[in-house]
């Protein structure tokens, strides 16, 4: 037989047992690429925000608008970002079969996500009707960007519910924990986007 290194290492390596696969899974790559495309989508929206803002010489926000309220969005963003911590807990504990801790982690992230959504809706209620999506481009940008992000968070909340159900049905643990990793990736991404949206839509009008 040849002494090709590749062949030798192939023959030497045992068939990887499901408990200890090496390397990244196809699901990981799938989620990473999905996040990439969504990240590009948000990046384009934020870039459009600044494009429209700087293509007009009149002030920003436009004269008929006031700057956005900062209290609710700051709390909401903070809650969402903090909810990454229980998410991380779930990621760490599921492979060790610590289902209770894992469930707590997922539930914590779920609660954070729900809180974010409630606060976001309250924020919209406060801005409406002095600012509306059809009043001007400023309003369109505000509602559509925050709306798109909220929709993404809602989907994430749905994913967390799915994880809770999986945990309750005993389908996650040492043998199978990849779904938690994948949802976690998405959840961290939601926080990153939240920070970007916060900085652009809420903070930048004051800068």
């Amino acid at each position: 037989m040849s002494s090709d290194t590749t062949e030798r290492s192939v023959r030497r390596e045992p068939v990887a047992a499901p408990e200890a696969p090496v390397g990244r899974s196809t699901g990981w790559w799938g989620m990473a690429l999905f996040i990439s495309t969504e990240a590009a989508t948000f990046a384009v929206f934020l870039a459009s925000y600044f494009y429209l803002r700087f293509s007009h010489t009149s002030g920003w926000p436009p004269p008929s608008e006031k700057g956005p309220d900062l209290v609710l969005p700051s709390v909401a963003t903070g809650v969402l970002v903090l909810s990454c911590v229980p998410m991380l807990l779930a990621v760490r504990t599921t492979p060790r079969n610590r289902t209770a801790a894992s469930g707590l982690g997922v539930a914590g992230a779920f609660a954070g996500g729900c809180a974010f959504l409630v606060l976001q809706v309250l924020d919209w209620a406060g801005e409406y009707p002095s600012s509306t999506p059809s009043k001007d481009a400023y309003g369109s940008l505000f509602y559509v960007i925050t709306g798109l992000h909220a929709a993404h968070v809602a989907i994430g909340v749905g994913m967390l519910l799915f994880l809770l159900a999986s945990l309750a049905a005993g389908r996650l643990g040492r043998e199978r924990h990849e779904p938690v990793n994948l949802v976690a990736l998405y959840w961290y991404f939601m926080s990153v986007v939240a920070l970007g949206v916060y900085a652009t839509v809420y903070l930048s009008p004051y800068l």
């Binding site: 192939v10 196809t26 799938g30 590009a40 384009v44 459009s48 293509s55």
Partner: protein
């Protein structure tokens, strides 16, 4: 380097045509694998299959169908333009025809056709048994089909998109009727399919290559498809954002593109071309990958300067995101920005030049065999260099400002798109026909196909350079006879009919092949890539034994193919228990684990149907109904994910 195998003479049929190594492997494990990979027959099988080869074939057939519809639109347009002040069609229909022609050719023919070949052949070329996400693969096909039907259904309703394929606002913001809603919703819907398909191709190429297929042993076609897929991941978002903004502006009165209320029409152009320019390379790169597959095969040698070709492919993909403003040189942007983008546009021509001369070097230093596929490849080189040089001319801003939006640019992009995509795709069809169908094609018919198509193509589009230089704008349903444009239009129309005849002949050639029983052996051309180490057509499981890849030319190096026989008693390489595939590392293709793959299921079809319902409901303004359909999608997806194979 060991001797390459000789291609069979056309018309010959090999005794049994099976590669000896594959015969050994099949003898060892073929029966068990056939059982493990059994498919449901009939209609159920048709609706539930997740087999990448069947899905790939569907992409090809469906894309060809949309090509035909779109081509007929063009034929009607050319008939209208054969003489001045003609009245074959009224302006409203003409506007719908030219919009649909462009939109359908780009979105519903070119990329899906590339995807069809990618779906069928990428897993085969990297030596695996299926795509990374087989059910998502089925989903992306169904969405493609339904979004295409959605888009084309608008035509018999008299409401086809009529804003041009790039749909500039404010015109498209203002047109009454559903036309532009068909457009924005149709493209948003299709984008789901394109994105999912791209992700699938990338992950397959990253994680499922045969052991030993390190990055520098990956075939150029695979590099091209992966590059194109990465480009889709990043280029579709600007288009999706633009289409979403357009839909919201039209239906909910948002102001993204309303200049009077703080919006900006030019924003649409930036967003559109941020997608649009990478898109032309998304179309052309896989086609060039096909050329990089055909030419080495029929020059009987590996591709020259492989590392440069790969670098050029990837570089084209990256740089293509930095040139979009060259579509906007007449908008009145600053000279600084025009100068920058002129420079960037010139830079992107360099990688194309690298590929061009690599092909020429491969031909020069090889031993050329002429057949239909090779003729199409050679025709591509001729057409693409002509289209490419006129493209370079557009980097001279003042000249661009004369000929943009005229028939000169129409000539340019048809030379690079027809020459750069359609010719390679036809070549790919002839090249891979034996593998996909198990039949050989009548070579004489193939040559006729090439001659008619190539002659018709040149006769149609070359005169357009001239009418454009003579001042004829594009997208006009008629023109005056006083301007000297008539003779060039008449020539183009004659060419269009010749081209149409060429396509009819091409179709007949393929139909004839299916009706005859000229059985194809495993490897009729003496090719060098792994896809030819399978049956023609391949078994459902592709490879009875996953080989070890030792070089860029696994069928020529004398070691990779024999490994198929060598490993035939190893469980990890044969995986006969269930639907399984090997997962390997991203860079070095070292074995990581064995993955169970999903079998046939109807669930992707359900998701596609719910999504279609949602899109239709959005179109007619039933937003509550659309929300309900969305809930339906969520429910079916939940069902789908709940029933995954135990994995990881």
């Amino acid at each position: 380097m060991t001797a390459t195998r000789e291609p069979i003479a056309s018309g010959d049929v090999a005794a049994d045509g099976v590669l000896p190594e594959r015969a050994l492997a099949e003898a060892a494990v073929g029966d068990r694998l056939k059982k493990a990979w059994e498919e449901e027959p009939g209609l159920i099988g048709f609706l539930t299959t997740v087999n990448h080869k069947r899905i790939g074939r569907r992409y090809l057939v469906t894309a060809a169908f949309f090509f035909m519809l779109s081509g007929i639109s063009a034929l009607v347009m050319r008939t209208q333009l054969v003489s001045p002040n003609n009245d074959i069609v009224d302006p409203d229909l003409y506007d719908q025809l030219f919009t649909l022609h462009g939109t359908a050719m780009i979105f519903f023919f070119a990329t899906p056709m590339n995807n069809g070949f990618g779906n069928f052949f990428l897993p085969l070329m990297v030596g695996t048994r299926d795509m990374a996400f087989p059910r998502l693969n089925a989903l992306s096909y169904w969405i493609f089909l339904f979004s295409g039907l959605f888009m084309f259904a608008s035509l018999p309703l008299g409401m086809a998109p009529n804003g041009g394929w790039f749909a500039y606002v404010p015109l498209t913001r203002r047109i009454d009727g559903l036309n532009l809603d068909f457009y924005s919703l149709g493209l948003l819907f299709l984008a789901v399919s394109s994105t999912v398909g791209a992700i699938n191709l990338i992950v397959t190429a990253l994680k499922m290559r045969a052991p030993g297929m390190t990055l520098n042993r990956v075939p150029v076609f695979v590099w091209a498809v992966v590059t194109q897929s990465f480009m889709l991941v990043f280029a579709l978002p600007p288009l999706d954002v633009a289409n979403l903004m357009l839909f919201l502006d039209r239906r909910f009165d948002t102001r993204f593109f309303d200049t009077s209320k703080g919006g900006d029409s030019v924003l649409w152009q930036h967003l559109f071309w941020l997608f649009g320019h990478p898109d032309v390379y998304i179309i052309v790169l896989p086609a060039m990958g096909i050329i990089s597959t055909i030419i080495p095969t029929f020059a009987r040698r590996p591709i020259a300067a492989y590392p440069f070709v790969v670098l050029a492919t990837v570089a084209t993909g990256i740089i293509s995101f930095g040139v979009w403003v060259h579509h906007m040189f007449a908008v009145g942007l600053s000279e600084v920005s025009q100068t920058f983008f002129a420079a960037a546009t010139l830079t992107i021509s360099l990688p194309a030049g690298i590929q061009m001369f690599a092909w020429i070097a491969t031909l020069w230093r090889g031993r050329v065999v002429i057949n239909t596929a090779m003729l199409y490849a050679l025709g591509f080189i001729v057409a693409f260099v002509m289209g490419g040089v006129t493209g370079v001319m557009f980097a001279v801003v003042t000249f661009d400002q004369q000929v943009t939006d005229s028939y000169f640019v129409v000539a340019h992009f048809h030379y690079v798109l027809f020459g750069g995509a359609v010719l390679p795709l036809l070549g790919g069809l002839f090249y891979w026909w034996p593998k996909m169908t198990g039949r050989m094609v009548n070579e004489k018919g193939g040559i006729w196909s090439f001659v008619l198509v190539f002659a018709g193509f040149n006769l149609t589009f070359f005169p357009m350079h001239i009418s454009g230089l003579l001042g004829m704008p594009r997208r006009i349903y008629t023109y005056d006879g006083d301007y000297g444009w008539t003779v060039w239009n008449a020539l183009s129309t004659a060419g269009a009919y010749l081209l149409g005849a060429g396509f009819v002949v091409t179709a007949l050639v393929f139909v004839e092949s299916l009706l005859r029983d000229r059985k194809a052996p495993d490897d009729p051309w003496g090719s060098n890539t792994l896809d030819w180490a399978t049956a023609s057509p391949p078994e459902h499981y592709n490879f009875p034994v996953v080989p070890t890849v030792h070089s860029l030319n696994p069928l020529w190096d004398g070691r990779s193919l024999p490994s198929m026989a060598e490993h035939r008693f190893e469980d990890q390489r044969t995986m006969t228990e269930e639907h399984m595939a090997l997962r390997t590392s991203e860079l070095d293709a070292r074995v990581e684990t064995v993955m169970p793959m999903p079998g046939d299921t109807i669930v992707p079809l359900w998701v596609a149907l719910f999504l279609t319902a949602g899109v239709v409901l959005l179109l007619v303004g039933a937003y509550l109904g659309a929300a309900v359909a969305g809930v339906g999608v969520a429910a079916v997806v939940t069902w789908w994910l709940w029933h995954r194979p135990a994995v990881e």
